[in-house]
């Protein structure tokens, strides 16, 4: 087992190196440079050249890449041009905010999606099923950023139940309640689409299982219908629901970019968008590499967990 984990970790190294090359190349290839972005109208060739020199961007690209890579190995991700603070500090702080938002949305969509799917399947073609199917289709069809804006308009501007934007109140305590108040609207807006997808797939997974013999046996031996559905059937259906959850976790994390912009959530998605527009090379590169490293580690962890649970997977 240890050997397997070690092998997986070693295989991650070329992946991460590949990511550094790609993100560096993309930033070098897109038109415009940080000096032009900083100077705006004043970007004379002379001023641009001087500022690029001050920023250390006048060296050959290959040399720049290795300087960056070398510093990064030593834990130095450089300083952001546009925010004037260490890239690592900024990314870690922002990634934390994204995890709070995406994590909450993921919990919401998993619970509501599975429950809705199970109820739907248990009442196949009944009113409950039709109602849920309609709601789910509606949820899948609304773009999350539009839903977010509408929620702000109704629940924050008109009803004043929730704050419009941000993660913490400008005044008052930064306690859990304050966080929940700020988190409610964006987390729901982010969860809606994934809830719909999970509900649809849970429904079909459940219908599949409900047709099988062991369910008939359970009913025949007199198990209460609630027990049949939630204990016997759902347990079996989870085998095909869990991979769906894994995929949706990825969608929720990437969908957070739109929601972070609409709700001004200080997350890593909004940070990357701002950084790209400002051509903040080091912040984009550092941000992408760190986020990608998290994805890679997460995937390894999932694989390892799966191989522990399912002996059929060779280690």
């Amino acid at each position: 087992m240890t050997g397997y984990i070690l092998k997986r970790l070693l295989s991650a190294i070329p992946v991460l190196l590949g990511i550094t090359v790609i993100v560096f190349a993309i930033m070098a290839l897109i038109p415009g440079d940080p000096a032009t972005a900083i100077l705006g109208s004043y970007a004379t060739p002379e001023n641009v050249e001087k500022l690029n020199r001050d920023l250390g961007l006048d060296k050959p690209l290959v040399q720049q890449y290795f300087i960056w890579l070398g510093n990064m190995m030593g834990g130095d991700f450089g300083t952001s041009f546009s925010l004037n603070r260490p890239v690592l500090d900024e990314v870690v702080e922002r990634f934390g905010a994204t995890l709070v938002l995406a994590g909450t949305a993921f919990v919401l969509c998993s619970i509501f999606g599975i429950v809705a799917g199970v109820i739907s399947a248990a009442n196949q073609y009944g009113w409950g099923d039709k109602g849920i199917t309609f709601a789910v289709l509606l949820g899948i069809s609304i773009p999350s950023f539009f839903l977010g804006m509408m929620m702000i308009l109704i629940f924050a501007v008109k009803l004043k139940w929730f704050p419009v934007s941000g993660m913490w109140p400008i005044y008052g305590d930064r306690d859990l309640w304050a966080l929940i108040r700020h988190l409610t609207l964006p987390a729901i807006a982010l969860a809606v689409v994934a809830t719909g997808v999970i509900a649809r797939l849970s429904r079909s997974a459940m219908l599949e299982v409900l047709r099988q013999d062991f369910i008939r046996t359970a009913r025949a031996k007199g198990v209460h219908e609630r027990g049949v559905i939630w204990r016997h059937a759902l347990k079996a259906a989870m085998v095909s629901i869990i991979p769906v959850l894994g995929i949706q976790a990825g969608f929720v994390l990437s969908g957070a970019v739109y929601i972070e912009i609409v709700f001004q959530w200080p997350g890593v998605g909004r940070m990357l968008v701002d950084a790209i527009l400002k051509r903040d090379i080091l912040l984009v590169q550092g941000g992408v590499v760190l986020v990608a490293a998290c994805y890679v580690l997460f995937n390894i962890a999932v694989d390892v967990a799966q191989s522990l649970l399912d002996p059929r997977i060779k280690t």
């Binding site: 038109p31 415009g32 440079d33 000096a35 032009t36 972005a37 900083i38 100077l39 705006g40 109208s41 004043y42 970007a43 004379t44 060739p45 001023n47 500022l51 001050d54 920023l55 546009s82 925010l83 004037n84 603070r85 900024e90 922002r94 109820i119 248990a122 009442n123 009944g126 804006m149 702000i152 308009l153 924050a156 501007v157 004043k160 139940w161 929730f162 704050p163 419009v164 934007s165 941000g166 993660m167 913490w168 109140p169 400008i170 005044y171 008052g172 309640w177 929940i180 409610t184 209460h224 219908e225 609630r226 559905i229 912009i261 609409v262 001004q264 200080p266 940070m271 701002d274 051509r279």
Partner: protein, 525 residues
């Protein structure tokens, strides 16, 4: 199925729980406290070191924390004393001697004196200065004519310029000329931008990344303590969200209201502020080659475009029609006799026929957005329609802002016939000097991307730069505007009016033509 009975019970329980939670969660929204002004900004500031920043967004904070030697008189773009009480200019215009205000201290207690002034400019301009590495200082070239700064005595400082440079005083009034505490720079080094210390009406209190910058009143301010206790600057990059925050009462003052949102703020509860600024939005015409090499065709383009419709319909009244290269906000240097080119498509057709340029094909560079560019795609499309209506054949090419600058700044030759552009400046010298002189062609490091050249204009601009008498300078600029309007190297389109909205709790707020946000007299109830 018995599952439904479970669901009903479950729903009931869940519903009750939800209602209870909801009650706690939603409780009355906390009112923002009186005496504390919450400003909705458009972005997170880069730094609070005035020498290191370039964005108007950052200037809005800085102008309340720092002072310069001089500043713009309220409601104008004319300089008046600030930390300097008085100054003299030598006959040849190369020596400026300032007398400094006595008894002023930086927020960290460091006394303000001639040495402090010298430290500030040496830090920016002298590469061997021990704190030059706290940069880069992208706008240091505003002071590139400064040869040396000398502390004559404690309260007298002398600047020696390499050549006469009339915009020097208004550059000192620009945020790049704001003065920082030398002791704070020595203490924090490159982190000074997050630990700023100036002499202004407000002191820096706190910077919570991506959340807020808080400044609080400086009770010892030399020009009278401010009315507010504190100001909170919140970065809200999305314009819709900023509008929603204003409507929900989460902010008291919102800058850069998008034109489409203006109607939301018509009621009693809000005040809409507007102020035309030193901004001009124009089309660079390629005077070197193609149809626009002919002055008649350039004039035809000026007649063909319906600028009234652009500012009223596309920009919803957030701009005024421009008459020439100099914005009217520079009241002292603006030529009031200029009338904008009228919208006259018939005249445009006549001129085109006279020049034999009917059906001329044009390549038109349009940008997607960018500093001061207003609504460039919608404007570009409307302009294209107007030009085609008089017989041009206009083809639009759209670029993202940074790419756009990379295409336009090196010159339009061989690529395009016209390009959108906008400038916001602090002195009437800046834009024409950098973008209309023959010596400002791109190959000479300027921004004259359309290769306009008129020796008379060159002469007037050179003369205005070395004239130290304001009336004399004004006269030269006025002549220049008349000639440039006639020559039509650009299509003069619009002067942007900066806008802001305040809630009914805010009093005494006015926007400045400089586009700076000055809050020392503002009251919030």
């Amino acid at each position: 199925m018995s599952i439904t009975s479970f669901t009903r019970r479950g729903l009931l329980a869940a519903g009750t729980a939800l209602t209870l939670t909801f009650g706690t969660l939603t409780g009355a929204q906390a009112q923002t406290p009186p005496g504390v002004l919450i400003v909705g900004q458009i972005a997170e500031p880069k730094s609070l070191d005035p020498a290191a920043v370039t964005a108007v967004n950052d200037f809005r904070i800085l102008m309340n924390v720092y002072d310069g030697l001089v500043r713009y008189k309220d409601g104008t773009l004319e300089v008046e004393p600030a930390l300097a009480t008085d100054w003299t200019i030598s006959e040849d215009g190369t020596e400026y001697t300032f007398t400094l205000r006595e008894g002023v201290s930086f927020h960290d207690g460091t006394p303000f004196n001639a040495e402090a002034v010298k430290f500030n400019f040496d830090r920016m301009l002298d590469e061997s200065h021990p704190f030059h590495d706290t940069g880069p200082f992208p706008l240091a070239f505003f002071f590139s004519s400064v040869e040396s700064v000398e502390a004559v005595d404690d309260l007298t400082v002398k600047f020696t310029l390499s050549e006469p440079y009339a915009p020097f005083l208004s550059n000192l009034a620009y945020p790049t000329g704001l003065l920082v505490s030398p002791a704070a720079v020595e203490q924090y080094g490159a982190d000074f931008g997050r630990n700023p210390s100036g002499t202004g009406p407000f002191k820096f209190a706190e910077w919570r990344s991506n959340e807020a910058v808080v400044i609080e009143a400086n009770p010892d301010y030399w020009d009278g303590a401010p009315e507010l206790q504190a100001v909170v600057f919140r970065p809200i990059t999305d314009a819709n969200t900023r509008t929603a925050e204003m409507l929900a009462g989460g902010i008291d003052l919102m800058v850069e209201v998008p034109p489409v949102a203006l109607s939301e703020f018509q009621g009693e509860a809000y005040t809409l502020h507007e102020q035309a600024g030193p901004h001009v939005w124009f089309l660079i015409l390629n005077a070197k080659e193609g149809p626009f090499a002919d002055k008649l065709v350039r004039q035809a383009a000026n007649y063909a475009i319906n600028k009234e419709a652009l500012v009223n319909d596309v920009l919803e009244g957030t701009a005024e029609v421009a008459a020439g290269p100099t914005p009217p906000a520079f009241a002292w240097a603006y030529n009031d006799d200029l009338e904008p080119y009228p919208y006259d498509p018939e005249k445009a057709k006549e001129l085109l026929a006279e020049a034999g340029a009917e059906g001329a094909e044009l390549t038109f560079y349009v940008t997607e957005g960018g500093s001061g560019m207003l609504d460039p795609i919608a404007m570009g499309t409307a302009i294209q329609a107007d030009l085609n209506a008089v017989g041009f054949d206009t083809k639009i090419e759209t670029y993202e802002w940074n790419t756009f600058l990379g295409e336009v700044n090196p010159g339009l030759e061989g690529k395009a016939d016209m390009a959108e552009m906008a400038w916001m400046t602090n002195d009437p010298d800046t834009l024409p000097f950098l973008a209309l002189r023959s010596d400002a062609w791109p190959d000479k490091g300027g921004f004259n991307s359309g290769y306009y050249s008129n020796p008379e204009v060159d002469e007037l601009l050179e003369a205005a730069r070395v004239a130290t008498d304001q009336d004399e300078r004004a006269e030269l600029y006025k002549q220049m505007q008349t000639i440039v309007q006639e020559d039509a190297p650009w299509v003069f389109v619009a002067n942007w009016k900066q806008n802001a909205v305040t809630s009914e709790r805010v009093e005494n707020f006015t926007l400045q033509p400089s586009f700076f946000l000055l809050l020392d007299d503002v009251v919030k109830n």
